[in-house]
């Protein structure tokens, strides 16, 4: 930050939280925020807004009535972002949540990220079966209607693909947005039956150590899950944010493993085989394994790391000199709750504590913010999360130093958003 901008901030009576324009959180708490707009109200500066206030047209005509299933406003342009269709991979691919257009911590069901290995199966719940067999006293089959009669639990948890943010490891992609770079994370309330209840009903034999979970999609996507996890907090999820799990999320039922890489939460769950050893499926050997610089590959890397990303301002946005912004983003950890989020505007040289705006739930997204006044000079915005286990989000350089650049999975590194003198925000590497 230049000397003149320091003087300017002093004149404006702004308390600084860190260098390059990061302001004390009290400026956020005191300021009147105008909707979800990026720039903060000028009332902070005590100036007359100069807005002519009158009754708008829509306040003078009755609107349409009720609707059977509500839609988002036509003015709210919210879309998942998909890759290109690959004719050699029918139904395969991923779509990403529009993180930069969302607030709070819950991802609307229509915008929850997707990853399919053979498309979304059209499942009639009356024809869907869940089988539990293998090393159990009594193999069982469950119907959907019967499963709805079980006592359920509801938990708010994030779900993140272990390939999320992988592009940052090889660099490039200056046009990346929060969505395109980090949109393979979402958060929802998942309601379902503790898997331990169903495994208990079948009676797990003492020699069992793993379960194999297989989906009813065309790929019969399977993953091996340690029995300890399955008996601890794995959920057979039937509802997502209060409604039946969406088809693209596994309707009529999915496995949900809190805090673990998304691929283990097998969708369209139809088979659980209790076993002594892991099954060595394609998606836990050829894929979802992390090759290190010494060419050994880490297998069964389950928990997702502590992580955060600033969602606004972020890639492809722009800022105006002299304006005050609510820098905001999300943070999460597979190891517990988020304890602290810090923000830097000078590429990590100085940090200020952000305000955590949401509940700090176990393995769920939190929303953070900090006010920032852009003085027109180049800036690099970063966020850094710390979780309840004491894990601190690492820099990109330290992730690369530890795990190299062959691997594309489990990258929790700090995102840097560069702001140039024209106010353009881009993905940068520092």
């Amino acid at each position: 930050m230049t000397k003149s901008s320091k003087d300017q901030n002093k004149r404006l009576n702004l308390d600084m939280a860190a260098a390059n324009g990061l302001l004390s959180r009290r400026h956020l708490l005191n300021a009147a925020l105008g909707g979800a707009g990026l720039a903060m109200s000028q009332s902070l500066l005590g100036q007359e807004a100069g807005v002519k206030l009158e009754i708008p047209a829509w306040s003078k005509t009755p609107g349409p009535g009720t609707s059977p299933y509500g839609k988002t406003s036509a003015h709210a342009k919210l879309e998942r972002q998909s890759g290109f269709d690959n004719p050699f991979y029918p139904g395969g691919g991923a779509s990403r949540s529009p993180l930069q257009h969302l607030q709070g911590t819950i991802t609307p069901n229509s915008l929850h990220f997707e990853r399919h290995h053979a498309g979304v199966p059209a499942i009639d719940p009356d024809g869907h079966k869940l089988v539990i067999h293998g090393l159990v006293r009594q193999p069982l089959v469950f119907n959907y209607e019967d499963l709805l009669k079980y006592q359920m639990v509801s938990k708010i948890h994030f779900l993140e693909c272990s390939g999320n943010s992988g592009a940052l490891l090889y660099g490039g992609n200056p046009d990346g947005t929060a969505q395109s770079l980090h949109g393979l994370v979402s958060c929802a309330e998942w309601t379902g039956i503790p898997l331990s209840a169903l495994l208990g009903e079948a009676g797990v034999l003492p020699e069992a150590r793993w379960i194999a979970a297989v989906g009813a999609d065309a790929a019969s996507m399977g993953r091996s899950i340690p029995l300890d996890k399955a008996m601890d907090d794995s959920l057979l999820a039937l509802f997502q944010n209060g409604e039946p799990v969406r088809p693209e999320q596994g309707y009529p039922m999915r496995l949900f493993n809190p805090g673990w890489e998304g691929n283990t939460s097998v969708k369209w769950l139809t088979q659980i085989k209790v076993t002594r050893n892991p099954l060595q499926f394609r998606d836990e050997t050829s894929k979802y394994t992390d090759t290190m610089p010494d060419r050994k590959s880490l297998q069964f890397t389950f928990p997702m790391e502590v992580k955060s990303v600033i969602t606004s301002p972020s890639g492809q946005m722009s800022v105006t000199q002299g304006s005050i912004y609510r820098v905001t983003g999300i943070a999460w950890s597979g190891a517990g709750s988020i304890r602290r989020v810090e923000v830097s505007a000078d590429g990590g040289q100085t940090w200020g504590d952000a305000l955590v705006e949401s509940q700090q739930l176990d393995r769920a997204l939190v929303r953070f913010s900090i006010p920032w006044r852009w003085d027109g000079s180049p800036a690099v915005l970063q966020s850094r999360a710390t979780d309840s286990a004491g894990n601190v989000q690492p820099t990109r350089n330290s992730v690369i130093a530890a795990k190299g650049t062959i691997n594309r999975y489990h990258n929790p590194c700090i995102q840097s958003w560069g702001v140039n003198t024209a106010g353009e925000v881009t993905n940068v590497y520092v």
């Binding site: 088979q271 060595q280 394609r282 050829s286």
Partner: protein
């Protein structure tokens, strides 16, 4: 266990009034219907590394070449060369200086996975359309293309899981970190 007595004690300790929300764990209903493993013969398609759950049947690479040409080569090429890095099945070297090409031959640690994946997920446009016999033949051909079995070597429930993969020792199990 966090007993009721301990709860009362804790409340007394922190001076909070004892308004205990009773949420006793209810006995779950038990609505699973009993089945036998035998009833899963056409449902359980998992082929385990031990070979235990492999189906009957057998095949050789020579037989598999024809099916591969008809059903697989559109994506994987006639000789497993693929039409992209995602579909190449042969070659690669984990010791290369550049980022290694990871294929069945260079990367996959278990031969059982080749059979298991083809059986359940391939061909991508018509999964589960190969017979068990054809699956053995195609799996044998993919292993043959990687120089891991001979052209007329018979692959079945006993022999296929025993095919040694070059990168079998290339993995470190992290499942203890949960």
């Amino acid at each position: 266990m966090f007993t009721f007595r301990r709860l009362l004690k804790t409340c007394a300790l922190f001076g909070c009034s004892v308004t205990v929300l009773v949420s006793t764990a209810q006995e779950q209903v038990k609505l699973g219907q009993a089945i036998t493993e035998a009833s899963l013969a056409e449902f359980d398609l998992i082929a385990e590394p031990s070979g235990i759950s492999f189906p009957a049947g057998s095949g050789t690479a020579r037989q598999g070449k024809i099916i591969f040409e008809n059903r697989c080569s559109v994506c994987h090429g006639s000789n497993g060369e693929g039409n992209s890095a995602a579909t190449v099945l042969v070659g690669g070297d984990m010791k290369s200086l550049d980022s290694p090409l990871r294929t069945v031959g260079s990367y996959w640690p278990y031969s059982s996975t080749v059979f298991d994946f083809i059986r359940r997920a391939m061909p991508a446009n018509a999964p589960k359309s190969l017979t068990d016999e054809e699956t053995y033949q195609v799996a044998a051909y993919v292993l043959y293309l990687n120089g891991l079995v001979a052209e007329d070597e018979i692959m079945d429930a006993k022999t296929l899981p025993q095919v040694r993969m070059p990168n079998a020792e290339g993995f470190i199990d992290q499942s203890h970190i949960q």
